[in-house]
């Protein structure tokens, strides 16, 4: 188990370079793969933008080499148990079905992984909202530049009537637990 110095702007890079340091050997690879993917998105999104720290390789606040120290079990809070009701709520919110032993184990492992963040001393450090927070927000003129692509967009839809998109009836209570399992099988949302 290890935690790297959590300098948020470099965290992703550390993970890219050293995916093997992701704890939880079983789930580790899939997690790392996901993080890698996320990271590449973020990178492509900000590549052309000179960043305050990342563009200066020798910023004293950022160590040249990633460092980490082991986090032992006893430094972590008690492992989180996921009650059935919470699973139900999460399934509803995410429209994802994971009510299996394997699914629950995966979720609990993910939480356990995140528990390591509790070890980091953040006292006196203002939390970041976004990696863009030191950037000026670009403001656009109020001039019509787009929007004439209804036809194109409607072609993306499986089901249309006249110029409308057709969606399943919404805003009705989701089915009860028992019904849901059956529904998920046939749902377009199922993953």
């Amino acid at each position: 188990m290890s935690v790297f110095s959590l300098c948020a702007k470099r965290t992703c890079c550390v993970l890219v370079k050293r995916p093997s340091f992701i704890p939880l050997a079983n789930g580790g690879h899939s997690n790392a793969a996901k993080l890698n993917r996320t990271n590449s998105c973020v990178q492509s999104h900000i590549t052309n933008v000179p960043r305050l720290f990342s563009s200066q390789p020798h910023n004293p606040k950022v160590p040249d080499v990633a460092t980490w120290e082991a986090v032992t079990e006893d430094q972590l809070p008690t492992p989180t148990q996921i009650p059935a009701d919470l699973v139900d709520k999460l399934e509803r919110l995410a429209l994802v079905d994971f009510r299996t032993k394997q699914g629950l184990a995966c979720l609990e492992k993910a939480i356990r992984f995140a528990d390591q963040l509790h070890v980091v001393d953040t006292s006196g450090v203002e939390p970041m909202d976004s990696v863009l927070e030191d950037r000026a927000l670009y403001l656009r003129n109020d001039t019509v530049m787009e929007g004439d692509c209804g036809e194109e967009l409607l072609q993306l839809s499986k089901n249309t009537v006249e110029e409308y998109f057709v969606a399943p009836p919404g805003n009705i209570p989701l089915p009860q637990r028992e019904e849901r399992a059956a529904m998920m099988k046939h749902s377009e949302f199922s993953i």
């Binding site: 000026a136 109020d142 929007g147 209804g150 006249e162 805003n171």
Partner: protein, 548 residues
């Protein structure tokens, strides 16, 4: 899930027709977005003489569509009643990879509105994602301002007419908790028969200002007056067109009842209110309903109710599921929004056209309705309640001032003609001032005739009615055609007066015994005889002579 609400009037007529041809049983439901945490947070202590009496407590959540050419985060056009899905960009449809680009006009509109409502403008504000699943919110979240909205802590001063004659102006304040920028949702048309929903994304992403008014109001009338004042302010600023029936201004009311001094009661949220008049009715109905529930020993449920303008009731809506979790999170694609107090505080290197400068916006604030009313009272010496009527009616101030330009009659004497006679005629036919069948110069001409003594005031009123019925005819034409000019032929008046005196010996006797007031009755009878055309001064003289 956000609640759905029936707002038929918000729909396009032709859209309705089209749908009903396609799906005769389809019901049209339009959903509103509402964001903020509730305002019934601090208890309110009101002193009153009857402590056992349950009283209403009303807070409002108002969504005002920003009057802009393009949407909040995309460059697609904003237009009411455009063909479905004709104003949608890739971002509005939430295609993967699209990013929000903030419209400066929307920021300026929110700052301007905040300033007009005496708010503190937050130099730094944040955007957040509020998640819920709904087909007309294709991203699965709405970008709003939950943590730090653009403007906070303001007041709206509104006035009511009260007192015995409803002529006393009562000023009240309502606290504005915040003004926040957020995206509108699309529109859904539910087809229950085919169990499907038709989605129009034209409205998806239009900029909204959500205004939260604290529960400082106690009845429908107060809430309606506050909303009306807000509507006038927004229209004066041009930041929102404020048309409730087109959904540009959407009001949800949080209503509860309690005994003054006690903590606030459980509240209900009343939605689907599409006019100021219905707002007052819906709130008053809901207050009475809750009082009855409590008096019967029941408890008020925390629920969302819709106002049905036909039955004049509020009815429970098929509501959000109990477990609602918006999973607010910072919007990662938008850095904090920063506005600058003045040009001096602009950071070096910032492109001036990129900056929103509060000072500049403050200087460009137009005359607000309350200031306009004060000006009218002072300039023309009219009563405050008249200034309300003038400002409340779109275009009436201009009409009044046009009339004044063309007559020498004193403003104090003109005002009644505008606010009573003319407005009465307009209201009768549900017309706006701009549709008036009598132009300001035509009214001025008529008033001139009265002022110069050619006609009496009661005849002038008759002529006005006829001018309304036969547009194009001038007052003087009508007076000539119908011989309505003032009768000041002394001999003719003498004979009429004599007739009245002869047929009312008792009254004459009373006058002779010193009861001079009875003379007025005789004057009235003479006027009746002449259909109000007799010169009142002459009639009084003649009658005095005959009864002395």
């Amino acid at each position: 899930m956000a609640a759905s609400s029936v707002a038929a009037s918000e729909l396009l007529h032709n859209m309705n027709k089209q749908i009903s041809i396609l799906y005769p049983k389809a019901s049209c439901v339009i959903r509103r977005i509402s964001t903020s945490s509730r305002c019934h947070s601090h208890s309110q202590l009101k002193a009153t003489s009857a402590p056992q009496q349950l009283v209403g407590v009303v807070g409002l959540e108002i969504h005002a569509q920003i009057n802009s050419s393009t949407k909040l985060f995309s460059g697609s056009a904003v237009r009411f009643s455009a063909p479905p899905n004709s104003m949608v960009s890739f971002f509005d449809a939430s295609l993967p990879g699209t990013l929000p680009v903030l419209n400066r006009r929307c920021v300026e509109a929110a700052v301007m509105t905040g300033l007009a409502l005496n708010c503190t403008i937050n130099q730094k504000s944040f955007f957040d994602r509020k998640h819920y699943f709904y087909a007309d919110l294709p991203a699965g979240y709405q970008i709003t301002q939950q943590r730090q909205p653009i403007a906070v802590d303001g007041t709206l001063t509104y006035s009511l007419l009260g007192g015995k004659k409803r002529s006393q102006v009562i000023r009240k304040n309502v606290h504005i908790k915040q003004v926040q920028l957020e995206q509108d949702s699309g529109k859904s048309l539910h087809d229950d028969v085919r169990s499907q929903t038709l989605i129009d994304l034209n409205r998806a992403g239009v900029g909204l200002m959500e205004l939260v008014m604290e529960p400082d109001m106690s009845c429908g009338e107060e809430a309606a007056a506050a909303v009306r004042e807000l509507q006038l302010i927004l229209q004066a600023l041009g930041t929102c067109q404020g048309n409730m029936s087109e959904g540009q201004l959407r009001v949800d009311a949080n209503v509860s009842v309690h005994r003054p001094g006690e903590p606030l009661g459980v509240r209900t949220e009343v939605k689907n209110i599409n006019s100021v008049r219905y707002l007052a009715r819906a709130i008053d109905y809901e207050i009475q309903r809750q009082i009855h529930v409590l008096q019967r020993g029941g408890t008020v449920q925390n629920e969302t109710r819709a106002y049905d303008s036909k039955s004049r009731e509020t009815i429970p809506m098929r509501d959000k599921e109990g477990l609602q979790d918006y999973r607010f999170m910072p919007e990662p694609n938008l850095p904090p929004l920063i506005v600058y107090e003045d040009n001096a505080s602009l950071p070096t290197g910032l492109d001036a056209c990129q900056a929103v400068v509060v000072q500049k916006i403050r200087e460009s604030l137009p005359e607000l309705p309350s200031v306009k009313r004060d000006r009218l009272v002072q300039t023309y010496g009219i009563l405050p309640e008249h200034s309300f009527t003038l400002v409340n009616e779109d275009g009436l101030v201009d009409y009044f001032e046009e009339v004044l330009k063309a007559t020498k009659k004193e403003p104090r004497k003109v005002i009644g003609w505008v606010t009573n006679e003319l407005l009465g005629l307009l209201k009768q036919q549900d017309m706006s001032v701009s549709q008036s069948l009598i132009s300001p110069p035509a009214l001025a001409e008529l008033l001139e005739l009265q002022e110069k003594g050619h006609i009496s005031s009661s005849v002038a009123k008759q002529v006005l009615q006829q001018m309304w019925r036969s547009p194009g005819k001038s007052g003087s034409q009508i007076i000539q055609e119908q011989d309505l000019g003032l009768v000041s032929d002394t001999s003719q008046l003498h004979s009429i007066c004599q007739k009245v005196v002869d047929s009312h010996p008792d009254e004459v006797h009373a006058i002779r015994n010193g009861n001079k007031k009875v003379l007025n009755k005789l004057i009235g009878l003479v006027q009746k005889e002449t259909k109000g055309r007799a010169d009142p001064v002459l009639v009084r003289e003649i009658l005095q002579e005959k009864t002395s």
